[in-house]
Subunit: 438 residues, 2 copies
C-alpha cells in the first residue's frame, strides 16, 4: 500500500493529539483511505517533556525546517499557532511543494489571501478544517456537501470559553468576573482571556467562514466585534426570564450584493437549536437556499476533537496525492470581489436589546424613548420589569428597551445620546436579538 | 471549462429539485468545482406534468435507458425509489461504466452489497448522501471528516413523519391516531404510513449508517425494529413530566467485537441535544473516539434539502472525474466481517421504560416486580404517579417501571409473563431510555 509521510510542527496539546491519532488508528485509517499515512517527523523546541504519546524518539526534532525538508514528508501539519514563525514555516513548506494542514485561525483570517494564493501558485493542498469549530466538520461541509447551495446565512457559537462562561452565568446567575476567574482555575479560560472574551477568536473564525462561503476577503477588523466582558448577570438573567439564552454569536448574512458579518452577545429564543448549545460546545447553523437550516454541533476545541479534524484533513490530502486528486478544492478563492462586498458596520440591521441604569423618576422612559426616535429607531418594548427588581442601585433601576429592526449606526448613535442623559448612569449594554427558528 | 453530463431518472419531487438546483446554481457550482455540470437528460414515465422547473423540452424522455446510454451522460442520478426497476437501472448504469448517485435507502439497505461490489468492480463512483438524513451531510462526514475516528456510537432521529407526530403528541397531549390523520391531511405523512411509523424507514437508514461506519453488512430484518404505532399519549405525557422527550431513535453502539443496532421509541433527557430536535427535522449524534459528541441536524426530507445533498454528490463525482479522483472513496466496503458482527437482538442492553395497565388492587406492584426479578431485570423505579391520574380506566391504572441496564431478551420475557397476569390489561408499552449527554 502506498505510503504518505506527515511532519508535525508544534508538539503541544493538539500536536500530541494528532500524533496519537495517526499512530493509534493507523490501520483503520489506512483501510478507509487505501493509503498508509506514516508519521515521519514531529518538530518542537521542547522535545523532552512527556506528552503521553509513544512517539518514536528518532522522529522528534527541534528543527522545523528539517521536518519540512524531509523528502519523505509530503504533508506538513502546522500547529504552532500565531502569525509569526507559523506563517514563515507554512510559506516555506508551500514553496517546497509540500501540502499543508493548519488549525491557525488567526493567521488564515489575517493573511489567508497571501497563503492560499501561494498554495494555488505552487499547486499544493492547504486544508484548515480545524481552524473553525475544532472537531466539527463545518469547513468540509461548506466546501463540499453544500457546494450546490447558495449560503443565505450562518450563525455560529464559535468560542467555548465564552459559551462556558455565559452558560454558567445563566444557570447560576453569577457575575462575569467570578465565573471567568473560576474558568481560568479549571483551565476553560486562558490566563490572558482577551482574545476569547472580547470576541476576536470568534471574529477570526467568522471571517474564515464568510470568505469560504462567499469567496471574498473579510478583514476581521472591518466588522463589528463585541465581546461579553461588559455583560452583567442582570442581562443574562433577564434574558432568561424573557425566554432567551445569551450567546456570543457570529452572524453572517447575505443581503443582496453585500455580506453582513459581525460578532455580538445575542439573545436567542429558547426554542432555537442554538439556545441548547451549552458549556464548551460549539455549533454553527447554516441556511442554504436548498438545504434549509442545518446545524453542526460538537467540541470546538481540545486535543482529541481538534486532532480528529486535522487527521481528517490529512486523509483528504493523502487521497488527493494517491488518486490524482482535485487540488484546487481545499483553498479559499477570492473571485467574487467584483460582485460582493462586506457591508459597512453601521448599515447592518438587527433587532436590539438595550439595557441602561436609569434614575427612578417620572419622565425617564420618555426621555430615553425620544432619543431612539430622533435616530429612527422604533421601540418594540420598553420595560423596567419586576424581574429586574433586586438590581436597583440607590434609586437607579435597570430599564430594558427592545427595538424593531434597526441599523447598527442608528442604535449606536441613540445609545451615545442616552449615555449623556443626566438620569442615565454608566454605559448602556447593547445586545442583538435573533428571531424564532423558521 | 470541462463539462460533465448528468442524467436524472425519476422526475418526481426530488428529481425536480435536483434539476432546479443544477440549472439555477450552475454558475456558482462551476466556480466552486472548476467543472461545468450540465443536465443532459431527465427521464420519467410522465414528462407532461408541470414540475415548476424550466427543463428544456428536448432533454425530457420517457426512456430511462436512453438517458443511461447517452454518451454525454457520465453521472446517472436514480430518484425513482423502490427495489424493482430502480435496482435494474442502477446496475445497468454501472455495467455501462456510468457513475451513480442515488437516494434509495431501501435498495441500499437491502441490496447494498450487490450494488457496491458491482460499482467497485466497474471502477465507478456511487454516492448516496441523500439516502440518510436528506439535506444533512452525515454520510459524507462519516466517510471523510471522521475517517480518522473509531465510531463508538450513533443515535439518530431519522424519520421526519414520526418526529412530527411525536412532537405534536408531546405538545398537545394528543392521541397518536388523531395526529396521524392530521399529518396525512397536511402532507407530513403518506396515505400508507406503515414504512414510516413502524420504523422501517429508520431501520433502512440505520443499517446504511452502521455498514458505513463498521464495514459490515447489516440486514434491517436482523435487528429489532419497533415503531410508534402503539404509543399512547399517557406515555408521551408522562415521559415529559419525568423530564424526557419521546423520539423514535435509531441506536448503533460498538460493543467489543459486536455492533448493536436497533430502532425504538426512546426516552431522551431534555438536556440532551437530541431532545431539542422537533417537528420534521432529523438529527444524528455521532460519538467518535477523537471527536467526542457531534450532532448533525437538518431537514431529513423534502425536495430542496434532499436535492442539496444529491447535487453535492454530483459535485464530488464531477471533481473525481476531472481530478482523476479517488474512486474507491464513495462505496461502502464490507471488509470487517471477520472481526465484527451484528449483536443478536436479545443481547442488546439498555435501560427500559415499561408501562402497563394494572387493576388498582393491593399486591399488584409486587406481582409485576416478581416477574422482572425472575428474568434478572433489576428495577430502578416503579410508580403509579399522580401524573398518571386521569388515565385510569374503570379501576385499571397505568403503572410505569423503569429498569436498570438489562438485556432486551430478559425484558421481553418478563413483559410477556406480565401480560399473562390476570391483573394486567392489554399489552405493556416498552421503550428504551437514553442517559444524560456526557
Amino acid at each position: 500500500m502506498k505510503q504518505i509521510g506527515v511532519g508535525i510542527l508544534g508538539f503541544g496539546t493538539v500536536g500530541a493529539g494528532v500524533a496519537d491519532g495517526l499512530l493509534r488508528n493507523r490501520e483503520t485509517f489506512a483501510k478507509r483511505l487505501g493509503v498508509d499515512v506514516v508519521l515521519r517527523k514531529v518538530a518542537d523546541l521542547d522535545i523532552e517533556r512527556d506528552r503521553g504519546v509513544a512517539v518514536p524518539r528518532e522522529i522528534l526534532t527541534t528543527d522545523a525546517m528539517a521536518a519540512i525538508d524531509d523528502p519523505e514528508v509530503q504533508i506538513v501539519v502546522e500547529l504552532i499557532g500565531g502569525t509569526g514563525i507559523a506563517k514563515k514555516l507554512i510559506l516555506a513548506a508551500i514553496e517546497r511543494g509540500k501540502n499543508v494542514v493548519t488549525a491557525n485561525k488567526k493567521l488564515l483570517s489575517e493573511s489567508g489571501r497571501e497563503i492560499f494564493e501561494a498554495a494555488a501558485k505552487a499547486g499544493v493542498d492547504i486544508y484548515f478544517g480545524a481552524a473553525v469549530g475544532g472537531g466539527i466538520p463545518i469547513i468540509r461541509s461548506l466546501r463540499e456537501g453544500l457546494a450546490g447551495n447558495e449560503i443565505e446565512s450562518m450563525k455560529g457559537i464559535l468560542n467555548g470559553t465564552c459559551n462556558y462562561i455565559l452558560t454558567r452565568m445563566i444557570k447560576e446567575g453569577a457575575a462575569f468576573a467570578d465565573v471567568l476567574k473560576d474558568a481560568q482555575k479549571l483551565g476553560f479560560a486562558e490566563a490572558d482571556p482577551t482574545l476569547d472574551i472580547d470576541g476576536w477568536d470568534t471574529a477570526h473564525k467568522a471571517s474564515i467562514l464568510a470568505s469560504l462561503a462567499y469567496s471574498i476577503p473579510v478583514d476581521p477588523h472591518a466588522i463589528e466585534v463585541k465581546g461579553i466582558r461588559n455583560l452583567s448577570s442582570v442581562d443574562v438573567v433577564y434574558a432568561d426570564k424573557l425566554g432567551y439564552s445569551v450567546k456570543l454569536l457570529a452572524q453572517i448574512d447575505r443581503v443582496g450584493s453585500q455580506v453582513a458579518v459581525g460578532v455580538h452577545p445575542t439573545l436567542i429564543p429558547k426554542g432555537h437549536m442554538l439556545a441548547a448549545v451549552n458549556g464548551v460546545f460549539n455549533a454553527v447553523m447554516v441556511h442554504g437556499d436548498l438545504s434549509g437550516d442545518l446545524l453542526f454541533y460538537g467540541r470546538g476545541a481540545g486535543r482529541a476533537p481538534t486532532a480528529s479534524t486535522v487527521v481528517g484533513d490529512i486523509g483528504d490530502i493523502a487521497r488527493n496525492l494517491t488518486g490524482g486528486g482535485a487540488r484546487y478544492k481545499s483553498a479559499i478563492r477570492y473571485d467574487n470581489e467584483q460582485t460582493l462586498s462586506v457591508m459597512p458596520v453601521g448599515e447592518v440591521r438587527s433587532e436590539f436589546y438595550v439595557r441602561c441604569m436609569v434614575q427612578d423618576r417620572c419622565g425617564a422612559f420618555g426621555r430615553i424613548g425620544v432619543m431612539f426616535g430622533q435616530h429612527d429607531v422604533s421601540i418594540k418594548m420598553a420595560t423596567s420589569h419586576e424581574f429586574l427588581k433586586g438590581y436597583e442601585e440607590e434609586g437607579v433601576i435597570p430599564v430594558v428597551i427592545r427595538t424593531h429592526m434597526a441599523k447598527t449606526g442608528d442604535v449606536e448613535a441613540a445609545v451615545s445620546d442616552i449615555e449623556q442623559l443626566d438620569i442615565v448612569k454608566g454605559r448602556p449594554v447593547v445586545m442583538r436579538m435573533v428571531k424564532e427558528q423558521g
